[in-house]
Symmetry: C2
Subunit: 310 residues, 2 copies
């Protein structure tokens, strides 16, 4: 390996996966700049999603504050289940209904107020078990890949199942991805006017369109971003169609799947991909479809970035 290549992606261990990534980067030199487009899933792909989604931690924190101020507000079924941590009750109600109820805590806020609340939480919140601030549970090798892509004139976006506005509030700080390159699950807005008759928009509690997972990620990329990726990275069944779509382009393309097989440094779990006939591990789907499967345990020299002074 040349010295120049050794300086690339320093947290990626030598081996076939790193070779595939570097090979793609080199091949992409021949791709027109307008077509150099890379999209990343967020939870479990760019940062840790266990034991719970960071956004859920944020929502729970808001719920606890609400209940502290007004105890009866915790009596709603969805809130009672999640506050008690009763897994059976949570499963019975379903995470989607709970997430929607929690999103309703921010009903009526302006986008700026919601972003401020997100940033205030992220400034101090810690991960439950990793012993580091939530803002540094990002994956160092993926940060290096994003930086390298941008150095090579790629447009880098985030295509997440999480809340668009939650991710936008932190995407510039964490990944230097601007708001317009974040596509996620969207809450609608009401257009209204303040007492001075000036326009104001306020969050509603209804989802606009569908949750941004599966085939919806593909159609949302087209409608909201307008360019298809030649690199897509994910870690779960919800990323399947996006990764397949990236590989279906002519010319150099890369579908990266993060396999969480590192119980020691992060977590060990396998996502399932729902297909018409069966439910199979997403890693098996990826192997069958020619994706590059990243083993956290084998392919990453470090998982998390050095902690900045907090």
């Amino acid at each position: 390996m040349s010295q120049r290549s050794a300086l690339l992606l320093p947290s990626w261990r030598p081996g076939p996966v790193r070779d595939a990534v570097v090979g793609f980067l080199e091949a992409a030199r021949d791709v027109a700049v307008v077509d150099r487009v890379a999209y990343f899933d967020n939870d479990g792909t760019l940062w840790c999603e266990r034991p719970s989604y960071v956004q859920l931690d944020f929502f729970l924190d808001a719920l606890r504050k609400r209940v502290e101020a007004n105890p009866s507000s915790g009596e709603r079924d969805e809130f009672a289940a999640v506050l008690s941590g009763d897994a059976a009750a949570i499963a019975g109600i379903g995470l989607e209904r709970i997430a929607l109820a929690l999103a309703g805590l921010f009903d009526g806020l302006t986008p700026e107020e919601f972003a401020s609340a997100t940033r205030a939480f992220m400034a101090t919140a810690k991960h439950n078990s990793l012993g580091r601030p939530l803002r540094s549970v990002t994956y160092q090798p993926m940060l290096e890949l994003i930086d390298e892509l941008r150095r090579r004139e790629f447009t880098v976006g985030i295509v997440t199942g999480g809340g668009t506005e939650f991710v936008r509030a932190i995407s510039d700080d964490l990944y230097r991805v601007p708001a317009e390159l974040v596509v996620g699950t969207l809450i609608g807005y009401d257009f209204t006017r303040d007492e001075g008759d000036r326009p104001v928009i306020r969050r509603t509690s209804s989802i606009l369109g569908a949750a941004n997972e599966g085939a919806t990620k593909v159609t949302n990329i087209q409608t909201q971003l307008g360019r298809r990726p030649i690199l897509a990275a994910g870690n779960s069944g919800g990323d399947r169609e996006m990764l397949e779509w990236a590989l279906a382009t002519d010319g150099p393309a890369l579908a990266l799947l993060i396999n969480h097989d590192d119980a020691e440094r992060e977590f060990q779990y396998t996502s399932k991909a729902q297909t018409l006939v069966e439910t199979e591990p997403i890693t098996d789907v990826g192997t069958r479809l020619g994706w590059t499967i990243v083993s956290m345990a084998r392919d990453w020299d470090v998982v998390f970035p050095p902690e900045s002074g907090s």
Copy 2:
């Protein structure tokens, strides 16, 4: 005026309007880069919309080709009206229903096929009366403003009532605005698979959400772009809320309204703004609300760019 300032925006004539624009640019030096955001309407703001929208010319061209190949396809009411140019019939059916029927001509196309068709048309099509290629009916002073904004680290987007994908197909060439910074009226996509089981998306003939006009421009900016503008430019009632929203920010802000008062070099017409109680000229609304009203006749030294060899 300093020499440096005289080099700015060379096609803008000295006077209060140019002073307001330059004053805003200077004041924006104190705005954080992340908040330096400018959105422009397209038809009538960045390029000529008379005697018909360029997109409508493109749709009509596609219709004529369709009818040439298959004469009976022109019998549909919407098509017959528009092919005959019968103003009463067109008004009776309504431009929105006609536009939707015309958009249906591209039903089933992939985004790439639609973009190719758009670009092929724009490569050779001429304006009906201006005697120049359609790709150069852009306004030179606005191109200079966009360039100057970008030089000052502004993010520049297009927020149009026209079709998102039509504008995206030409926005990079005409304005160097990337696809993800174009927000317009959206046609939905179907996610499907080809014979090799690879994902393909194809245009439908239904509009996603509402036409991108009025208050919808504001909520679509938030959901699709995620940052509010401190400069918004438009020319019609459909731009009103976006311009008001830009001016409702704290700090430096500019709402620019293009007044088409130049029958000699372009066209002379006044758009109406629909309000709850009355219909008044949008220029009157703008004057009342403190917008900067650009008189094409008075404030622009040239209207169109020098024609490149065609």
